[in-house]
Amino acid sequence: MNKLEIYVDSNVEVCDEKLVILALRLGYRALVCKQVVDLDTSNTPELYRKVVLVSESVQDLKRQISSINSSSCFVTLIPRSVEVARWASHDTRIDTIMLTSNNIGVFDKKQFDTMSYYGKPLEISLKDISDTSLEVREKVFRRLNLLLRSKVGLIVGSGASSWNELYHPYTMVKILTSAFDIPPRVALLAITDCPRQIIAKKTPVRPSKQPLSRT
């Protein structure tokens, strides 16, 4: 299968049975979930565990990250200060740095340059961004344009906590292109190859019948 057809939703709050079945119908091959509920069905996408760290100081982040097995979890950081964001950019245990409506100020040109230098992707959640005010969305739009110029990898997740908050991959690409002026190819990479490269190194909580290619 072409690597641009392996759709991954990298940010799901709770993976319950209904959500997982619908995700499979929508064409997702892997889901990264914060919480996995016991599933009866055997035909599911590959499920990976996600750990979200929120930190305001480097000391606190070091303490939090020491207790996590980063080889089995998809580790995402929400930095609350510039120094945490800078430090996290070069730490290999952290997979992505997340932009939310509360920490937009952390992401400036230097931060994106650092992330570009160390190859650290930026993650956004569509639910978090679409639920905020217009003012915040304007700021996100400008940050994403800056990100594209800095050539930082982008990962987009739905942030779904129930089945009706999932997006069809095609719809997700169209939302990113129409709302944030992201080129279609970058938008497609944000839900396919960029997250796949990260989860390829991780151990799934629940492997699927058709495993992802590890190359």
């Binding site: 619908l22 119908r25 129930s162 009706n164 908050e165 069809h168 095609y170 719809t171 709302a179």
Partner: protein, 151 residues
């Protein structure tokens, strides 16, 4: 002698005038050609229609009017009244048995319609998502896909 100089100067000035007129005419026509070329590129000859076949996955079965109003409300909220007026999105057909439908929009606004389908989380008071299946150029083909496409 003075008369000869006068005649020569008159001839030279006439020649310069003719050359200037010729150059002006040439420049004017090339400017006009370029302007027409640019405006022709910008101008869309005819607004063509596109038909989006979509499926509704809902808790309970939903009706045509609910889906149409949900789609229209979302489109207006996201892209404003002006774009809605230009694109004129409509739900033409909604099969309540199969929970599938066909929406129509102008070819310039197809991407916006598909994006706004993604933002619909509820139809009426029912939890629901609308999934785009296929974009076609004729309603005949859209009807064909309405029955045959699998989700």
């Amino acid at each position: 002698m003075i008369q000869l100089v006068n005649i020569v100067l008159t001839v030279v000035s006439l020649a310069l005038l003719l050359a200037a007129l010729y150059l002006f005419r040439k420049a004017y026509f090339s400017y006009k050609a370029i302007r027409e070329k640019i405006s022709a590129e910008k101008r869309v000859k005819k607004l063509r229609k596109r038909y989006v076949v979509f499926a509704a996955v809902c808790e309970e079965k939903v009706g045509h009017n609910d889906v149409a109003s949900a789609l229209r409300d979302t489109f207006v909220k996201l892209y404003g009244e002006l774009t809605t007026q230009k694109g004129s999105p409509r739900v033409l057909i909604f099969d309540e048995e199969k929970q599938r439908g066909i929406a129509r929009i102008s070819h310039l606004h197809v991407d916006l319609l598909v994006a706004s389908l993604g933002f619909i989380k509820r139809v009426g008071s029912t939890k629901c998502i609308l999934i785009p299946l296929k974009v076609t150029g004729t309603i005949k083909k859209a009807r064909k896909y309405l029955d045959t496409l699998k989700l």
